[in-house]
Amino acid sequence: MATVSVSRTSELNLHHVSKRFAGDDHTLPVLDRIDLSVKSGEFVAIVGASGCGKSTLLRLIAGLDDQFDSDIEFGGERIRTTDLARGIVFQDHRLFPWLNVEQNIAVALKNSGRSKEEKRRAVAEHIALVGLKGYEGHHPHQLSGGMAQRVAIARGLVNRPKLLLLDEPFGALDALTRSRLQNELRRIWEREQITMILVTHDVDEAVFLADRVVVMQARPGRIGKVVKVGLQRPRSRSDAAFVRLRDEILADFSVPHDAAAVA
């Protein structure tokens, strides 16, 4: 069965992943023996206070950084560098200011090996997917923060990656836009059935979107615990089970602070 083979080849496995930043007289551990498996089609959120290394971890999975110990495997192969099968959306949209919306999405397809016509169609489809029809000719400076982030999501998806990494994609947006885009991301994830890993500091966002929430602790960055979110989608933020889960994770979040205060 095709679905079975797909799910096997796009599984992500992190095994004892550690990373250090080289300092002046000592090396600073950033990530300490991270173990994590993400199944195909799963939505995993990684939460943690700033400085816990969650964005660094995402860069390792993207293949943007190869200075780490041990292995990260994706689809049974060791990750050495970037790959079109692994897309990423950054917190700052990172669109090219000199290109319009259409061209910015097409940036992703340069090395996709598709024909001109296929590229054109894929770009148009993804502009529609993120609800930006009519804005094809706009440049980034003419877009609001939320619209620019939609373009960045379209650019991340247009190659049809098996895995989409999201590095605090809504972190810089206002609350209203953020919740609208969270809903859209859920819709896209359900429709495209791709694996997503979302890094965020917003516990609410993590519980709203993810199948599992990975809580990271800082100094050195390590996995505290993993919470399974068994709630049915679409989720209501005021639902009692939702609130309970969120509070449980938030409580875990503040443990190192309390420990520090006591010590």
């Binding site: 970037t82 990172r94 090219f96 200011p97 000199w98 290109l99 940036v107 340069k110 090395n111």
Partner: protein
Amino acid sequence: MATPSLELETGSGAIAGSGEQGKAGRWRGWVIPLGALLFWWFVSRHVVAGHGMMTSPAQVLHTAIDQARSGALRRALSASLARELTGFTLGASLGLVLGALLGVSPFANRLIGPSFNAFKQVSLFAWIPLISVWFGLGDVAKVVFLSLAALVPVVALTSDGIRAVSPALLDVARVFRYSKLQTVRYVVLPAALPSIFTGIYLALIYSWLATLGAEYLLVAGSGIGNTLVDGSEQFRMDLVVFGVIVIGVTGWALNALAHAIQQRWFRDPAA
């Protein structure tokens, strides 16, 4: 409290021709030149009339018409502009190549960068004695001098612009598996373009200033700088003032041309 309102006024004046304020701002720019002209006319007529070191606006206008009619203006100006464009084109082209090399290749930057930065600190005019010994006082020497004037800003701003390309955008190129060549062609160059154009723009202005310097210091042949030299040697202040006006207007025109090109093709969309 005075500073913000002042900035506000300059800001509205900068948006030329947009609304009443813009027009009023434009008018204010004429007050000093017209006042100076009036003052000059008054002094030359009533205070130091007939003095050899002074000339009147009417006399300058007369000389201007004379120079234009006799073809002397056309000869001088076309000689200067031809020199300016040759030197600018040579210097800017060479500057683009050198600047791109310094920006793209860390090796070239380590090899050539320090020498270039030391060279940049030496005033251009300090090279004139060497240039005149090696190349004489003719057009070759002048064009060499102009090329140097154009080269320096283009190299500096091209390499700076390329090195200033945000690592965030280079990440994007890596995520989409751009080759080195694709990264330079589709990310680095477009990102550096506004800076590169600023370099070319400065080169145009610098080389025009250098044209005058070269004509003044390497005195041979014709040119608008030579008109100045002739005027001063013959004690003809009307000719000197006429030359100064022509130089000013030409510089202004070159500036406006470069500005128009920038607006049309190189506008930084983020600005």
